[in-house]
């Protein structure tokens, strides 16, 4: 059995999770401080990929990154690199669809964070960065971790936008989800079943992790 799809899926999910972690936490931190109207608008825009069909996201991404589109053409001309149909093209898709999960969970965690703790740190002479990394992030740790796991699981399961922007090339852009589709299309049900089982196993482990984190957070919240 060729394990390339598993390896490719995992590295795409891992890289996009790292990106989404920082993007989501930063967005949650800064957007929470904005006036209510701006916050409401940004909230809708940033959460939209969560509810849009993946094909819509894929189409929009192609509009931006395609070799004949402004950004794609500029990158191709300047760096000689095509942004679509490579293994890492899928990262664009997974970042966009996984971002809302990270952003919303982080924002929920930050909103329940007691602002007095931050103010206490600042009146004690500590910088905003110190307060953020040494107090706010540790206090919100459980929520942030849950968001990260959810984002990773979502990135791992991405199919629609990925297939549009990275396509399916065995040994190059194939992921678990695109492989299952291809095997089913070519009537290889046994082959598809193997990957289905692999996928179910990985997803179950991650959901279990989310549940454990959430239970721990609830217990911690009640004990304080």
């Amino acid at each position: 059995m060729d394990w390339y799809p598993l390896y490719n899926s995992l590295r795409i999910a891992a890289i996009s999770t790292v990106a989404v972690f920082f993007l989501g936490v930063a967005a949650a931190y800064y957007i929470a401080k904005l006036p209510r109207l701006v916050k409401g608008v940004l909230d809708v825009v940033l959460t939209l990929p969560l509810v849009l069909p993946p094909t819509v996201v894929g189409w929009l991404l192609l509009c931006l990154l395609g070799p004949k589109r402004p950004l794609g053409a500029w990158v191709l001309e300047t760096f000689g690199v095509k942004l679509v149909m490579t293994w890492w093209s899928a990262i664009f898709a997974t970042i966009v669809v996984a971002f809302p999960l990270m952003y919303r969970t982080a924002r929920g965690a930050f909103e329940s964070f007691d602002q007095n703790l931050a103010d206490a740190g600042r009146t004690l002479g500590r910088s905003n960065a110190w307060v953020f990394w040494r107090v706010q992030m540790p206090v919100c740790k459980q929520g942030i971790l849950a968001g990260t796991v959810l984002a990773f699981a979502r990135a791992l399961g991405e199919y629609g936008a990925t297939s549009m922007i990275a396509g399916y090339t065995p040994g190059r852009t194939a992921t678990i989800s695109t492989t299952v589709y291809q095997l089913w299309r070519t009537n290889d049900d046994m082959g598809a079943l193997k990957w289905v089982l692999v996928n179910i196993a990985i997803s179950a482990v991650f959901l279990l992790a989310v549940n454990l984190l959430e239970t721990r957070q609830r217990q911690k919240g009640g004990g304080r």
Partner: protein, 347 residues
């Protein structure tokens, strides 16, 4: 060497105007809930920004809207004791205190010294959630003092505690503050707390400071109704000065004040325990109908209606010993009197 505050801030339809000066003393900010006491403290600490005005601490301008100066909280050297202490829950007691010492070389020494000074050595490696309310308060104070502030702000330090624990912690807090050389602002809505711990009081009413008073001025000679209310006085009536007495139209009473009543007096205040029962023929006695009797823990409250009162007049509240009321024969109609010196003349 002192704190001077003169700020204005609009919050929704609430206009705040606060002005006071504090020396190296414990100055109380006394006011009812929601009168802007916490907002004032937050403006001094730099957590909130006033719309305009000036805040100067020990010669350093912390905020000046005209000169566009607004120091961040980190540079103000103002310690803030939050209502729930705001200890970092992810850190131990020792780490909480160490967090306030920015000088790495001195961090360990200062932390250990504060742990000793505040008797926190035994719980030094515990988290805030695992220690008692008293230990939490000591940790918060130790942390504030470790940051070497020039002023300390106390935001209703005992609001969340039951009365017995509160009393113990109050004694401890007072002892700590006696050692502190700088200015302390003590925000409270509890007049007893203020009376026990402060010499001077700035009264806040609906966002506006009413001036700074000594305890004597506030509790024995309040000049405004807001100050009288905060000092615990419960009876108020409109008043018309008449030479050495006042006429109270609502109650249909003329009361002797024993001295010339200034023309600008429009209200009087009478403390409930200064209303006394007396014999029918005593000088200054007036007949009242008993409207209602309420038993309190250690005394009895009787709501009286002077016989000449207008129909919708507020009741005159009298407080007396339970036994004195029990001994009273006629519990529906009594003769009451008020000593001239006990009538608070208010502007």
């Amino acid at each position: 060497m002192a704190l001077s505050v003169d700020i204005r801030k609009k919050m929704g339809d609430f206009q705040m105007e606060v002005r006071f000066e504090a020396e190296q003393e414990t100055l109380a900010l006394l006011g009812a809930s929601g009168c802007g006491k916490s907002v004032t403290l937050r403006c001094v600490a730099g957590i909130l920004t006033p719309d305009e005005g000036k805040i100067v601490l020990d010669g350093v301008t912390l905020f000046d809207s005209a000169a566009k100066i607004n120091l961040p909280p980190q540079k103000r050297q103002v310690g803030y004791l939050f209502q729930q202490y705001a200890l970092f829950p992810n850190m131990t007691v020792r780490q909480n205190i160490a967090a306030a010492v920015r000088d790495k070389q001195r961090r360990k020494a200062v932390t250990e010294e504060k742990l000793r000074q505040f008797r926190l050595e035994e719980v030094a490696d515990k988290r805030p959630g695992q220690i008692s309310g008293g230990q939490q308060q000591r940790t918060a104070l130790a942390r504030i003092l470790a940051s070497e502030p020039k002023a300390i702000l106390l935001d209703e330090p005992f609001s969340a505690l039951d009365s017995y624990l509160k009393y113990q912690l109050e004694v401890e807090l007072a002892e700590t503050l006696e050692q502190f050389p700088g200015t302390v602002l003590w925000v409270s809505h509890d007049r007893g707390e203020v009376f026990r711990n402060c010499r001077r009081v700035c009264v806040l009413d609906q966002g506006k400071s009413q001036g700074t008073f000594t305890l004597r001025e506030l509790f024995h000679e309040p000049v405004t109704e807001a100050a009288a209310r905060l000092s615990g006085c419960k009876n108020y009536a409109d008043a018309v000065p008449k030479g050495t007495s006042v006429f109270l139209p609502e109650w249909g009473l003329t009361l002797d004040c024993g001295k010339e009543v200034p023309e600008d007096i429009h209200r009087v205040g009478i403390r409930s325990h200064h209303v006394a029962m007396t014999a029918a023929d005593a000088p200054g006695a007036f007949p009242c109908e008993v409207q209602r009797v309420i038993q309190d823990v250690f005394f009895t409250i009787v709501l009286l209606r002077p016989e000449n009162a207008v129909p919708d007049a507020p009741p005159l509240r009298m407080e007396l010993d339970r036994e004195d009321w029990a001994k009273t024969e006629d519990k529906s109609r009594v003769w009451a009197m008020i000593q001239p010196r006990d009538i608070l003349l208010l502007k």
